[in-house]
Subunit: 588 residues, 2 copies
C-alpha cells in the first residue's frame, strides 16, 4: 500500500493498492519485514544512533546518522507492522526538537557545531529530507501522528531559515528537494514546493564553497538545467535529478523536465553498467566520464541503484515512456536485489562486476568500512545502503503498476494483486525464472478499459494470449482492451532462452568480452562453481548458453552453462563464502 | 656529482663523478637548475612554507609542508648552485629547532598538536626523513654546515625518542628508513642504522592504529618480509621497500633482500604500467590487485615513479641484475620525464595513460588540487611531485654508471663524462631519438678493465663496434675488455624501428589494444594531432609504424605514423593546450 510519489499531473498515475504475494519480490518483501528491517533496528539501537535523540552529546555514528534512522522509519511505515517502534522514535525526536523546529543530533547543541555552519558536509538538510520522506510514508499509511507533527515543525523551520530572504545555501547532499515536493503533495502546503524550487534553482550558481573534490561532487558546478549528463557523486546527482523532476511536474516546467530526460538518456547510454548500476569511481563515489565503466572498480553503490529507480519512476509517471520501466527492472534485479544477502542479514555497499580477490570476511560484530570483500557485511560505518534497501523493499508494490484514463499499465512483472478503479487483477508468475505471466481479472467495473503489460526490451518479442487468442507482441507495452469480466485472462510468454551480450565497443574496460544474460538477469561466473582461475577463463560466444538447472544454495536460482563454465545470477553471488567473480568474460 | 645511495657492500658501487652534457637528460638537468628548482623556491616562498620555520603559527600548507622544503633543498644541494638559499633555510630551521632536537612547524608548539600524537597522519618522521636525505646531499657535496648540524640534532632526537626502549611507533609515511641508513653511511654513526632497523621491523605487527583505508594503506598490515607484492599507497610502499633494501645490504640480511626482490618482480609483472608507472587507484593513491591496470584511471603518481627508480637503483647496486636498470630507464623516460612541462614550469601529479576529456586549464596563480586536467599545473595543494622531480633531475648523474672490481657499467645511455679509477669515458649520443651511442676513452690507468654497456631489453639485439670490430650483442650488458688507451672507442647501435606492443592478456582494461613504442619511449595519440575523436580510433597492427619526422613544438621529438594516426612520445603530451590522449589503441 505504498505511494512514495504522488504527482498532481503526468502521463500516468501511481497505483498504491498493490499486494505482492510470494515469488521473487514478494519473498523479498516478506524477508524485509521479518528480518531486514529488524536487523537495521537492532544495529541502530546497539550503536546508539536512535539514542542520539535522547543524548545528542553521545555523537554515536557519523554526522548523518539521523538520516538512517529516518530511512528505516520510512521502510517501517510502508511495511505497516512497526508502529510501536516508530512511535518510540517519534517521542525521542520530539524531546530533541528545539523550540523553533530545528532538529539534529549533531549540530546546534551546547558544545557542538553551530547549526548550518557546514552546509557542504554537515548533512543537516539531508537529514530533514529523509525525515520528511518518512513522514510522507506515515501520512499516507496511518495519517498524522507525533512523527508527522515533529516533521511539519522541522519543515516549517527549514522554510523559515532558507526561504527567499533567508540563508541562501543548499545542502551538500540533495534529497530534501524530492522530500519537500512530496510533503507539498501530501499536505497541500505550497511553501514546501516553493522551498524545493529555491533549493533546486540556487544550486550551481554556485551556492556552496569549493571543496577538494570540486563543486561537481555535489552538483554545484553549474545549474542543473545546463548539464549534459549526471555527474559527480552518484547518489547526490540522482536524488537531485529526482527532485528536479518533481519540481518540473508540479510547476509545469517542461524545459527542466526535458533537461533531466536528456541527461538520463545520456547517462544510461554512456555511464551505466549492464546491471543498471551507476558510479564508476571509488574516489568520490562518483560517475566517471562517458564510457568509463571499469567492471572491477565499479562502485555501483546500492544507494545509487535505489536513487536511479526513484528517478526513473518519476520520469515514467511524467512521460509514460517504457524505457524508464525497463531501467527500473534492470536495476531492481541486478543492483537492489544484489545488495542484501539471501538471508537478509548482510549487505553489499558497492556492487562491482568483477571481484579479483576474495578479500577478508567482514567483521560480524562491528561496523565495517565500505569494504572490498566478496562477502556482505552486516553493517557499515556509513550505513546508508541497508536502510535504503529496506525502504525500497517495503514500498516495492508502488513501482508495479500505474493507471491513466484508458486503463492500467503493469510495468513490473511480479506476482500479486493490483486493485484499480476499473479492474482488479491477479498476477501469477514465476518470473524471472519463468517467462510466463498470467493476469487474471478478478473484479471489474464493466466499463471498457485497457490492460497494458510491459514486454521488456531484452525480450524483443513475445506472445500474448488475450482471452484465448494468441498474438505476437513486441517490446514496449502489449495492450489488450475490453469491457473486462471477472475470469478474463491475459497470458504473456516471454522468451527465456539465455543469451550472450556484447558490450558497447566504446567501453574500453570490457572490450573483447561477453556477458551472459537470461531474461532481466545479468549472470556472472563465481569461483565457487568454476575450478579455473577466473583471470584465465575464456568464453566462446559461438557456443550456446543453456539452462543448467536450479541451485538450492541460491534460493533455487536457475544457473546457466556454456564452454564448461557455470554462470549464476549476479544478484546471488557472494552467498557461499569467499570467492572471486566476474560478469564480463573474455571471448575466445 | 651526486651519490644519493652509497652502500658499504653490494654487487656494484655507484660512480658519482658523472657529468651530463646536453642531450635528453643533460638538457633537463640544465632546465632543472635554471627554471624548475627556482620555480619550486618561488612557490614555497610565496605560500609561506619556508617562513613556517620562522612563524610556525602561520601553518601555511599541509602538515607535511616541511618535507617539500627539504626535498627542494636536496635538489639544490645536488645541483650545487643554490648555497645562499640553503644557508638561509638552515638558519630559519635552526631558530625553530627545540632544545632536544625536535623540529616540525606543525606539531609541538604552544597551541598546536602535541608531538607524536598522530603518527598515522602527522608526517613528523616523514619530514625528518626528507630533512636527512637533504643533509646527506649536503654532506656529500659541501660537507658539514648549519643544515647538517640541525639535521644531526634532529636525527639524534629521533633515536632518543623512538629507540629500543622509546616510543614503539613508526611513521604513517615511510621514508625515514632509507634516510637513516644513508645518514649512517654518510657519518658512520651506527645508531642511525639501528633506528632504521627498528622502524622496518616494528612495522606490520602492527605499529599503527587502524584507519578507514585499512592498515594496508601504510604497509602496517603485515611485516614487510611476508608480503608477496607491493601494496597499499604506492609511494609509501616503494619508499619502505627502498629502506628495507638499504637495511638488508648494511646488515647482511639476505632473506629481507630476497623478499623485496620477489615483491619487486611480482609488482613489475602484474602491477606496473607499460610506462613504468605504479599505482592503479585514485581512491588511496594505491596499488591495485594483480592485473588491475586501468589506463584512464591510472594514478601512476610522479612520486611513485621517483620512488620506483630509487628502489630499483638500490636493487641494482645490491645484485647487479640488469632488469633493475631496464626498469629505471622505462620509468625515467615515461614517468619522471612526463611530469614536468617541456618548459619546466608545470607538473603532472598523476600520469594516466588515457585522458578521456580535456578538463579545465589549471589555475596559474593558485595551488591546484591533484587535478584531472590535460594541462600541467604550476603547483599543488599537495605538492610533493615538483620537488621530487627537482631532486631527481639534480641527481640524475648518479643513476648512469657503476663500477665493480672488473670495471665500469654504463646503465643509462646519456651523453656526458664518466670518471672512474680505471678509465674516464666520454659518452656521445642522440639517445633516445638515435640508437647510436659512442663511448670514447679519454683517460686510462692502463690496467686491463671491462666496459659494460647496457643493451636495453626492448632492443632484443644490437651491434657493438669495439675499436673497429663489429659484433652482435644481446639484451643485457655488452662487455668489452682491454687495457684501454685514450682514444679507444666503443659504439653501440640499437635498433630504433618503432614497434607495436601487445598487452599481457591478463590485463582486462586494455584487452584488444596495442601501444606504439620506439626505443625506450612509449608513444600516445593526442587529439591535437588526430582529427578523429580518440574514442573512435582503431589501429591496425599489421600496418607498420614509421618515423614521421621531428616536431619543433615538442622539443624536436620524433613522431610516428601508422593508419593515418600520428603518435607522439607519451612524455611530451599535454604541452600544446587542452587535449585528449590515449596510449592503448583498440586494434582493428
Amino acid at each position: 500500500m505504498a505511494r512514495p510519489v504522488d504527482p498532481s499531473t503526468g502521463a500516468l498515475q501511481p497505483v498504491d493498492d498493490v499486494r505482492l504475494t510470494g515469488g521473487f519480490w514478494g519473498t523479498r518483501q516478506e524477508l524485509n519485514s521479518t528480518t531486514l528491517l529488524p536487523h537495521c533496528y537492532a544495529w541502530e539501537s546497539r550503536l546508539g544512533w536512535i539514542d542520539n535523540f535522547v543524548n545528542p552529546l553521545a555523537e554515536a555514528g557519523r554526522e548523518f546518522a539521523d538520516s538512517d534512522v529516518y530511512k528505516m522509519v520510512e521502510g517501517m511505515a510502508w511495511d505497516g507492522s512497526f508502529d510501536d517502534r516508530i512511535e518510540d522514535i517519534a517521542s525521542k525526536m520530539a524531546g530533541a526538537q528545539e523550540d523553533d523546529g530545528y532538529l539534529n543530533t549533531r549540530f546546534g547543541h551546547r558544545g557542538r557545531d553551530v547549526r548550518y555552519t557546514d552546509l557542504e558536509w554537515g548533512h543537516e538538510l539531508y537529514c530533514y529530507g529523509h525525515m520528511i520522506q518518512a513522514a510522507v510514508a506515515r501520512l499516507r499509511t496511518r495519517g498524522e501522528d507525533e512523527f508527522t507533527s515533529v516533521t511539519r515543525r522541522a519543515a516549517d523551520h527549514v522554510c523559515d531559515a532558507f526561504g527567499i530572504d533567508g540563508n541562501q545555501g543548499v545542502c551538500g547532499h540533495p534529497v530534501i528537494e524530492m522530500a519537500l515536493v512530496e510533503l507539498y503533495r501530501a499536505t497541500g502546503e505550497e511553501r514546501y514546493l516553493e522551498q524545493a524550487r529555491l533549493f533546486v534553482e540556487r544550486r550551481g550558481r554556485p551556492a556552496l564553497a569549493d571543496i577538494e573534490r570540486g563543486r561537481v561532487y555535489f552538483q554545484d558546478d553549474m545549474p542543473i538545467r545546463d548539464a549534459v549528463a549526471f555527474r559527480g557523486h552518484a547518489v547526490r546527482a540522482l536524488y537531485l535529478a529526482g527532485g528536479a523532476v518533481d519540481l518540473a511536474v508540479e510547476t509545469g516546467d517542461v524545459e527542466l523536465l526535458a533537461a533531466i530526460e536528456r541527461q538520463w538518456e545520456r547517462t544510461i547510454e554512456r555511464r551505466t553498467y549492464i546491471t543498471g548500476g551507476m558510479g564508476s569511481r571509488h574516489s568520490a563515489e562518483d560517475f566517471g566520464e562517458d564510457y568509463e565503466l571499469p567492471p572491477d572498480r565499479a562502485y555501483s553503490e546500492t544507494c545509487a541503484g535505489v536513487a536511479s529507480i526513484q528517478l526513473a519512476w518519476r520520469l515514467l509517471l511524467a512521460t509514460g515512456d517504457v524505457r524508464y520501466a525497463d531501467q527500473i527492472e534492470r536495476t531492481l534485479f541486478n543492483v537492489v536485489a544484489t545488495s542484501p544477502a539471501l538471508d537478509g542479514s548482510g549487505f553489499f555497499y558497492a556492487n562491482p562486476l568483477h571481484q579479483r580477490v576474495p578479500g577478508e570476511p567482514p567483521d560480524p560484530d562491528a561496523e565495517n568500512m565500505r569494504a572490498a570483500s566478496s562477502l556482505r557485511a552486516p553493517w557499515f560505518h556509513v550505513s546508508c545502503c541497508p536502510t535504503n534497501v529496506g525502504r525500497t523493499f517495503a514500498s516495492l508494490g508502488a513501482y508495479v503498476a500505474t493507471v491513466d484514463d484508458d486503463g492500467v499499465q503493469i510495468h513490473q512483472l511480479a506476482g500479486g494483486t493490483i486493485r484499480t478503479p476499473a479492474v482488479t487483477l491477479r498476477v501469477t508468475t514465476g518470473y524471472p525464472w519463468s517467462g510466463d505471466v498470467t493476469v487474471r481479472v478478478t473484479e471489474s467495473s464493466g466499463e471498457p478499459s485497457r490492460i497494458s503489460l510491459r514486454v521488456p526490451s531484452w525480450a524483443g518479442e513475445a506472445v500474448l494470449t488475450d482471452r484465448g487468442h494468441r498474438r505476437p507482441v513486441r517490446s514496449g507495452y502489449a495492450v489488450a482492451q475490453a469491457a473486462w469480466s471477472p475470469g478474463d485472462e491475459l497470458r504473456l510468454e516471454l522468451p527465456m532462452r539465455p543469451r550472450w551480450t556484447h558490450p558497447d565497443p566504446h567501453v574500453d574496460a570490457v572490450r573483447g568480452c561477453v556477458a551472459a544474460e537470461r531474461g532481466p538477469l545479468v549472470y556472472c561466473l563465481e569461483s565457487t562453481d568454476n575450478p579455473t582461475d577466473l583471470s584465465e577463463v575464456r568464453a566462446d560466444p559461438s557456443n550456446g548458453l543453456a539452462d543448467a538447472g536450479t541451485s538450492p544454495d541460491l534460493a533455487d536460482a536457475i544457473t546457466l552453462s556454456a564452454n564448461d563454465l557455470t554462470f549464476i545470477p549476479y544478484h546471488t553471488w557472494g552467498n557461499r563464502g569467499l570467492a572471486t567473480m566476474r560478469v564480463w568474460v573474455p571471448a575466445i
